[in-house]
Symmetry: C2
Subunit: 177 residues, 2 copies
Amino acid sequence: MIKKKKGLVIVNTGNGKGKSTAAFGTILRAWGRGMRVCAIQFIKSEKGKWGEVKAAQKLGIEWISTGDGFTWKSKNLDETTALARHGWEIAQEKIASDEYDLIVLDEFTYPLHFGWLDVSEVVAWLKEKKPLMQHLIITGRNAPQELIDFADLVTEMKEIKHPYKDQEISAQPGIEF
Amino acid sequence: MIKKKKGLVIVNTGNGKGKSTAAFGTILRAWGRGMRVCAIQFIKSEKGKWGEVKAAQKLGIEWISTGDGFTWKSKNLDETTALARHGWEIAQEKIASDEYDLIVLDEFTYPLHFGWLDVSEVVAWLKEKKPLMQHLIITGRNAPQELIDFADLVTEMKEIKHPYKDQEISAQPGIEF
């Protein structure tokens, strides 16, 4: 079997922890090797993602938050859709520029899952425009089947035990956000 | 419900990708917040973990490889056991020192799973000696049930699709190691 080298499309999905942190760990690994990396966040978490944003600033890693001021709980669907489209335009620009070895689209499954972006259009665009050697990591719950079919590597992070539901423990800064 | 704050014992297990990279992502997040972090690797991967070791060096993060020169495929069981015990002694020293906010024991499930270390003894020691506010992340396949019972947060990284088995694609530096 002749193995080929190509940029991987990686999806981290599931209801458990570690989808985004595994992407950030891969950013760290790639950055350690001097690769050009970029992270684009699609959903502004209610708790923020201060730890990783601060780390990225310290490391000089490009970190773009496209969802400032909106969450997927927004009641204004037009606004939500417009913001998701705006975020996807930024991602398209970064991907097509071919200036990065690794791009992370953090929480990108949500605009696809909720239909703010058309998953068929997104996959078709990636098939045509993503540079061959560029790695792309997409995180978030409920990855659509069409995205899974397109991806090279898919991992489900499955919750086995969770301290905030099962026990009386608070979320911890630096660990959980 | 009154929620308490405590250091979490986190286990990333399962046959999928992301167990170690999620731990490294959490290190990055914690480091971004100025927390004191330390990683201890128990198994020297055949491909090495150059990306993360290089990143840790650049960041000034303490990164200890206890398994240099041995792998869990070693045929010399006495030597393997001695090396696992040596690694655990280093980990015990770091944990008990209370000089870290977050310690990662990477691939630590293997010495437990293969019986080179006694899981009951390890859990009993952690119950007694781990500083209350210190976070501990343990990664690796086949996490023993006793460790899962002890942990606060357990995630199974489950392989849904893998490029090296299903497709003709090589492992990629910076992404996979």
